[in-house]
């Protein structure tokens, strides 16, 4: 039914809260969806799963706003929720395992099709990230996206000191692994 057929009074029923909420949520969406989806993809290595996580994260933001709870730092809040969702759904392990199982076959196909070196590197890095515990992986991906240590600590709900220690361990563990794999020096 087109708008001109819509009874005028129906418009009265639209509460302005909805407009405010839509503005708020969609502004947060447009500002964060790309890096959050990239983040979710780095955690899950599965585009559908990343979509699911991002959608669920923003639906929770809708609920928060509707309940009158607007996060103080929306970006940090989004990352925290997304990271928690990824952990609690246990997707990471499954997807990582799936990747490791199929990796040899993929590599053969990839070699035959001449993939871009950068793509291979990304895939290798993403696979390597799966050796890290959830929090460490989230922290390194956020750091790669340009978040400061303080922002990462905020998003993960940790202190700066413990985040600093955790991130050092994560970086060192990843580096050692990649050196052993011949990917890094």
């Amino acid at each position: 039914m087109s708008d001109d057929r819509q009874p005028a009074v129906r418009r009265l029923a639209v509460v302005s809260d909805a407009d405010l909420r839509t503005d708020f949520v969609m502004a947060a969406y447009d500002e964060n969806q790309r890096r959050l989806t990239s983040f979710a993809y780095a955690l899950t290595r599965d585009a559908d799963a990343a979509d699911d996580l991002v959608q669920e994260t923003f639906l929770r933001l809708v609920k928060e706003h509707a309940a009158g709870r607007e996060p103080e730092n929306v970006t940090a809040w989004l990352y925290r929720v997304c990271s928690n969702l990824a952990t609690s759904r246990g997707r990471r392990g499954v997807v990582a395992r799936k990747f490791l199982e199929r990796r040899p076959a993929e590599e053969t196909e990839v070699a035959a099709e001449i993939e871009i070196l950068r793509h291979e590197l990304s895939e290798t890095l993403l696979a390597a990230l799966t050796i890290l515990p959830d929090d460490q992986r989230s922290a390194l991906v956020m750091a790669a996206q340009g978040f400061s240590g303080r922002e990462i600590a905020d998003a993960l709900g940790r202190t700066e000191t413990s985040t600093r220690t955790m991130m050092f361990r994560a970086r060192e563990r990843l580096r050692t692994f990649l050196v052993a794999e011949g990917v890094a020096r």
Binding site: A42, V62, A184
Partner: protein, 623 residues
């Protein structure tokens, strides 16, 4: 890296954090003095550069649409707010109409833009089915935009919000669009399979329907209109259907089959679930209720389901399992009657090959609805069963001090604390309660009111440490058993040893025979009385040192008397787990639960040694 590499650590920290001036000084001095630190730091900087090359992804457009839609729909208003809105609506639209009742009774075409020249068939739609009414609890803003806002997405779950909704065979009001029965009531749920198709000024959706309030009711697949011409919805998206957080088998069992598809799609799931014994699977086409044609591994009937535990398996609400032909599982390796970790997913791509079986007697369906049934199978790619997991009818021991309780769960009355190594017999389970998996066990070494203790124990702690483990018994060959062996295996601490070793296999042994009499007025009156624990007449078989009691069927013709020892050596054939044990029963003495009584009586009858024949040894001296 060692503590000596503080400079490297500080350099790495500086990638993400502000260093204090003192730290910065130490870092710079350290890097200058320690070439290895500098190399490590450079390696980390290189790694950071690599991480910055991680791929960039945008969410699908549909995600944006869904988020926007969710943001647009205001939270449910309180009743008085709804009434105010309804009153405003009425006042403006129906100046002159006195009351809501009048609104309800108006023909729908007076409230909408349906032209008066609408085809006579329209009356068929406006009343009585779908039979719209103004429901004050339904938020008018469920619509908006093009009457109802964005189209209902395919594979989403909708709910009937206005009662008596009609399913039709075609997306239109016409003679060739068959009106199906039964009508859908408020709260019935729908999986959106196709649509919208606009016809007769309605938006039609193809749906598969079910009623959560009446799970037995079945509805033909077909088309329903989304709502009235004035924007009053008859169906709207169902909220909060899908579980959040880690998906458990309890979450899955709590959802209707279509909801599992809608919530999880083809996502990889790892479920710890009780795999039912299941029935042997058979070709779908061999069943009159079959509606599907497609890959046999997705359409065959029977087979196992995944359930929360053995108790809930009786309801059979869990997803039907299919075995991925390309997975690691084979038909024969599919476990049954145990807890297993199942790796798999719903919505197998091969389900797209499923079609409605022409001429099915199960009622009308559509290809999409038939496909949905295939999609709702949980396709198992891999399965893991802990070989040490307790099995029913198995002898196990407590690996630690273990509390026996009256019922499964921490609310159960606390019975004894078993010492480490206590033999128990597993009767029933697992039952999941309070996040533990419980088994009903019999503890032969604990006697309570003349019977072994029956109770429930948890099989492991939350970390997976086992509290029960399988017990290995020293079992002689069935043809080479001695009375001493049987006395050892049937001792009071573990009267199920013979059953554990031999099952129902015949055994042969030698001994002296004496008729024996039981209690005249036992507490438990087990039927059949010759097999029960207090059978009036049994045979005591002795090797001169050890003695075991055996039961015998009346038709064996042994003299029923007490005493009468035959000191000559006889060859005895006997067995455990007699076929009649399956039907053993007894009136339950006061204070014993039916569950405990069933467990005890079954235990007594199955562990009884039953004589098949007693023959004198050739050349043996008679008494």
């Amino acid at each position: 890296m060692t503590h000596d590499h503080e400079a490297a650590q500080l350099a790495v920290a500086s990638l993400d954090f502000e260093l204090t001036p003192a730290e910065r000084t130490r870092m710079e001095a350290g890097l200058a003095a320690c070439p290895e630190c500098a190399a490590i730091a450079a390696s980390h900087i290189g790694l950071q550069g690599m991480l910055q090359q991680l791929p960039v992804h945008d969410a699908s457009l549909i995600v944006r649409q869904r988020v926007m839609r969710a943001a647009l729909v205001p939270p449910r208003r309180s009743q008085w707010q709804v009434l105010l809105v309804a009153a405003a609506l009425l006042g403006l639209m129906l100046a002159g109409a006195a009351a809501v009742g009048a609104f309800r009774s108006q023909p729908v075409d007076q409230l909408t833009d349906v032209p008066s020249s609408s085809p006579p068939a329209l009356g068929d739609v406006v009343s009585p089915e779908p039979s719209p009414s103004v429901d004050p609890s339904a938020s008018p803003s469920d619509g908006g935009g093009s009457a109802f806002g964005a189209p209902l997405p395919h594979d989403s779950i909708a709910e009937v919000v206005s009662g008596r909704l009609r399913i039709r065979s075609q997306p239109r009001v016409a003679d060739d669009s068959v009106k199906y029965e039964p009508l859908l009531g408020v709260g019935a749920r729908l999986m959106i399979l196709d649509g919208p198709v606009t016809a007769n000024d309605y938006d039609w959706y193809q749906v598969a329907a079910w009623d959560p309030k009446d799970p037995q009711a079945t509805f033909p697949a077909g088309w329903v209109a989304r709502g009235d011409h004035d924007g009053t919805p008859w169906i709207s998206e169902a909220a909060d259907v899908c579980p959040t957080g880690e998906v458990t088998i309890a979450d899955v069992v709590g959802l209707a089959p279509a909801e599992r598809v809608a919530c999880f799609g083809h996502r990889e799931l790892r479920l710890r679930a009780f795999v039912t014994d299941g029935s042997e699977s058979y070709a779908c086409t061999a069943d009159p209720g079959c509606t599907n044609d497609g890959p046999s591994w997705l359409t065959d009937l029977g087979g196992s389901t995944a359930e929360v535990d053995a108790q809930s398996a009786a309801a059979g609400n869990g997803p039907i399992l299919a075995i991925d032909p390309d997975g690691a599982v084979r038909d024969r390796s599919m476990p049954s009657g145990v807890m297993a970790i199942l790796d798999g997913s719903f919505d197998a791509p091969a389900a797209q090959q499923c079609r409605a079986l022409a001429g099915s007697s199960a009622g009308p369906t559509t290809d999409l609805a038939a496909r949905l049934q295939c999609r709702a199978r949980f396709v198992v790619r891999d399965v893991t069963v802990d070989p040490a997991y307790p099995k029913l009818g198995a002898a196990v021991t407590a690996t630690d001090r273990l509390r026996v309780r009256s019922t499964p769960g921490l609310d159960g009355a606390r019975y004894e604390l078993l010492a480490k190594g206590t033999p128990v017999w597993v009767v029933d389970g697992p039952v999941v309660a309070d996040d533990y998996e419980w088994f009903q066990v019999i503890v032969p070494s604990l006697e309570v009111d003349g019977a072994p203790r029956v109770g429930w124990v948890a099989q492991s702690d939350h970390g997976g440490e086992r509290w029960l483990s399988g017990r290995t018994l020293e079992c002689p060959a069935p043809s080479d058993v001695t009375v001493a062996d049987l006395a050892r295996l049937m001792g009071t601490g573990e009267s199920h040893g013979g059953l554990t070793c031999f099952g129902d296999e015949p055994i042969t042994f030698k001994g002296e025979v004496e008729m024996s009499c039981g209690e005249a007025r036992p507490t438990w009156l087990v039927q059949p009385d010759w097999l029960g624990p207090h059978a009036l007449y049994t045979v005591a078989i002795s090797d001169g040192t050890d003695v075991v009691n055996a039961h015998f069927r009346p038709e064996l013709g042994l003299p029923k008397s007490c005493g009468g020892q035959d000191t000559s050596i006889h060859t005895i054939q006997a067995h455990f787990d007699d076929g009649d044990a399956a039907t053993c029963e007894a009136p339950t003495p006061g204070g014993t639960s039916a569950s405990d009584a069933r467990a005890l009586v079954g235990y007594w009858c199955r562990t009884a040694l039953v004589v098949d024949s007693i023959d004198p040894m050739p050349g043996a001296a008679g008494s």
